[in-house]
């Protein structure tokens, strides 16, 4: 899993991002001002830096200008103007998220960056189950579990957003896409099959009035 630096002076926001990144298995360092952030970025090898633009002492743009390493950077900012967005991307930032944003969105953007830099986890192992994300294979006790492509995609989404409940609508959108015409019962049917095939009735939890969550915390 990835090692991430969060440079954000708003403590609540920083903590919020950290907690969410922890849930899906990343490790996180925090910096509260620009100078420290730059120093930490130079001294450690981070897979991604999440950088606030309006940082005390040294702005996020300035940090990227001075950074000698080519660590991928995702800007997080309250500035919505196109100019500021372009400035950030011109400096070579990977992505640009404006506040307020959904944590799922942040996780998705981090995943995209990791995939591009090939730092994304290629496998996932939990409760005696080995998921090979690269070859799209699932094994339990040396035995291959055969999943349909949609079932595998659903598993992949649950794994990369583990410990976070995803609504049925969200799952539909993430696995089947926006233009899928079926209703949310499709999700229920596939979840049932996945639970049965993997024996994960306990781990893939139904969250009341919300959706489903792959709970790994407390189940290791």
């Amino acid at each position: 899993m990835a090692h991430i630096l969060i440079a954000e002076d708003e403590q609540v926001i920083s903590k919020l991002m950290m907690q969410n990144l922890h849930l899906v298995g990343h490790t996180v360092d925090q910096a509260w001002d620009g100078v420290t952030a730059l120093q930490m970025a130079e001294e450690n090898d981070y897979d991604v830096i999440i950088l606030d633009v309006m940082l005390p002492q040294l702005s996020g743009f300035e940090i990227l200008k001075r950074l000698t390493k080519d660590t991928p950077v995702i800007y997080v900012t309250a500035k919505t103007s196109l100019d500021s967005k372009l400035e950030g991307l011109d400096l070579g930032a990977e992505d640009y998220i404006t506040k307020p944003f959904e944590m799922l969105e942040l996780l998705a953007r981090v995943r995209v960056v990791l995939r591009r830099t090939q730092k994304e986890a290629t496998g996932f192992s939990f409760a005696g189950t080995e998921v090979d994300l690269l070859n799209r294979l699932v094994q339990q006790a040396g035995q291959e579990v055969s999943l349909t492509p949609k079932e595998f995609e659903l598993l992949e989404v649950l794994v990369s957003n583990r410990n976070i409940a995803l609504s049925r609508e969200r799952l539909l959108e993430m696995v089947w896409g926006y233009d899928f015409l079926g209703d949310t019962r499709t999700v229920d049917v596939h979840i049932q099959r996945l639970r049965k095939k993997l024996g994960w009735e306990e781990y893939i939890q139904t969250v009341y009035k919300m959706g489903y969550r792959l709970q790994t915390k407390g189940n290791e």
């Binding site: 002076d9 708003e10 403590q11 609540v12 926001i13 919020l16 991002m17 907690q19 969410n20 849930l23 509260w32 309006m54 005390p56 309250a78 500035k79 919505t80 103007s81 404006t98 506040k99 307020p100 944003f101 959904e102 944590m103 799922l104 410990n163 976070i164 409940a165 995803l166 939890q205 969250v207 919300m210 969550r213 709970q215 915390k217 407390g218």
Partner: protein
């Protein structure tokens, strides 16, 4: 006509001057040649008269009584006739012609009936040539009539050649004028072109465009006026840019201040919804949501207050300044005890304020609140009120952290905080001082800050005595 309209100013001037010059020159030439002709003619006439008199005299002497058939007179007249010089004579006795060298003429000759002692003068055109006819009776012998005809062909010719030379000279002068005038006007219009060029450059966005070299004439005046205009416009534009930049900054700050709590609230609400939390974690998350909501509320309220002052809606009522200061301080006493801060109240000069009491109370509370935040342990806050140089002062001095020069400069800007992290933790939005400033300004006063890092800060509310808001208590 349209082509005339498209001419440059100097070109119009050029054509106008040339036209006027041509007109006047023509009038001068015509007048001069007319006068010249007349003078020439007069002198010819005088000459002819003298000649005629001479001939008349000669013929009178040639007359003898014995010359009955007038043969001698005829011979004399014939000898006096000088066709080559254009002078012809005719001598008659009554209706009988003695001799005639005149050009052939078939018309009436009314001039022949001439009285003794007078001279008839006629101009007659024969075969396209003008002749001057001078007719008189011979002296001492009035039966004889002498007609002297003088051809004016000569003066016509010299007059014509005079006109030709006039025209040639005029043409030469006009050409010369045309050339000289062209260069002169072009040169004179250069500065104007420069003014136009500078104005165009300015309009195209080069706001440093000015006219550097200019004369002290009207064009120079225009250049100076242009420079003045450009200066003024430049200043105005810069002012506008500054204010628009400030506005943009305010919007950026506001957006940052609002988006941050919203992000936190949204994020933690989702977290609560999506993640399996222990009751301890749940409490932590909900606390953040409550705190951030309060912060958002705080910002919204302060922004609304700020906005409402700009419309200037104050609810004025008269009240005692001393009573207000004392009651405000009283509300801080419990906190002061808890944070071990001492209040020193020295000589509160009392005036009647005719102001918005709620706002002034908020102003004072804000200032004292900031003073208490700045104080550490063994904090000391001095409050005094006095009259100085016609102004009523309320001074609040703390012995807290103080501010740097940079911080002092920015204090009062909306969303500016001297201590970012701490202020946010305490729920501050960076609007307090901005709000205080607005309140004081709305009452026609000034808010004044003195501060030194490490030594503390003094805040002085300065209100002018005797304006609409402050009266001296009798």
């Amino acid at each position: 006509m349209n082509r005339l309209k498209n001419l440059r100013f100097w070109q119009k001037l050029y054509l106008a001057v040339l036209a006027v010059f041509l007109l006047f020159l023509t009038i001068a030439v015509v007048a001069m040649s007319a006068i010249g002709y007349q003078q020439n003619l007069n002198s010819e006439i005088e000459k002819a008269k003298a000649d005629q008199q001479r001939i008349s005299l000669t013929l009178s002497q040639a007359f003898t009584e014995d010359d009955t058939d007038n043969k001698r007179l005829e011979v004399a007249a014939k000898s006096l006739n000088n066709g080559a010089r254009g002078a012809f004579i005719e001598l008659r006795e009554g209706d009988t012609e003695i001799y005639s060298g005149l050009p052939k003429y078939a018309g009436d000759r009314p001039e022949l009936s001439v009285k003794e002692g007078t001279l008839n003068q006629t101009i007659r055109t024969i075969d396209g040539v003008e002749y001057l006819y001078l007719t008189s009776a011979l002296e001492d012998n009035s039966a004889f009539v002498l007609t002297y005809a003088y051809s004016l062909e000569g003066i016509d010719e010299s007059w014509q050649s005079l006109i030709i030379s006039y025209v040639v000279i005029s043409f030469g002068l006009i050409s010369l004028l045309a050339i000289v005038l062209y260069f002169l006007l072009k040169r004179f219009s250069k500065p104007l072109e420069r003014v136009a060029q500078s104005a165009r450059t300015f309009a195209d966005g080069d706001r440093s465009s000015r006219i550097t070299h200019h004369s002290h004439d009207e064009v120079g005046d225009i250049a100076e006026s242009f420079n003045y205009l450009a200066d003024t416009v430049e200043e105005t534009i810069e002012e506008l840019e500054r204010s628009s930049h400030q506005k943009q900054e305010l919007v950026d700050n506001l957006s940052h201040e609002i988006r941050t709590p919203i992000t936190a609230i949204q994020g933690y609400a989702e977290y609560l919804q999506q993640v399996d939390l222990t009751s301890e974690q749940t409490h932590e998350v909900t606390s953040v949501i409550v705190d951030e909501s309060a912060r958002l509320k705080n910002i919204a309220e302060n922004m609304l207050k700020l906005a409402s002052f700009q419309e200037g809606n104050l609810v004025k009522s008269p009240f005692s300044s001393r009573e207000l200061i004392e009651s405000t301080l009283k509300s801080f006493y419990p906190r002061a005890v808890k944070e071990s801060v001492d209040f020193h109240v020295k000589g509160l000069h009392d005036v009647t304020l005719s102001a918005d009491r709620q706002l002034v109370e908020m102003l004072l509370s804000n200032i004292i609140d900031n003073a208490m935040k700045a104080c550490g342990d063994q904090g000391l806050i001095e409050v005094s009120a006095y009259v100085d140089q016609g102004n009523y002062h309320i001074r609040v001095t703390d012995n807290g952290t103080g501010m740097t020069r940079e911080q002092l400069k920015n204090i009062g800007e909306p969303f500016y905080r001297t201590d970012t992290a701490r202020s946010r933790q305490e729920g501050g939005a960076g609007l307090g001082v901005a709000l205080c400033k607005r309140i004081v300004e709305a009452h026609g006063g000034k808010l004044y800050y003195e501060s030194e890092r490490g030594k503390g800060t003094s805040v002085v509310i300065i209100l002018q005595l005797g304006n609409n808001f402050v009266q001296v208590r009798q």
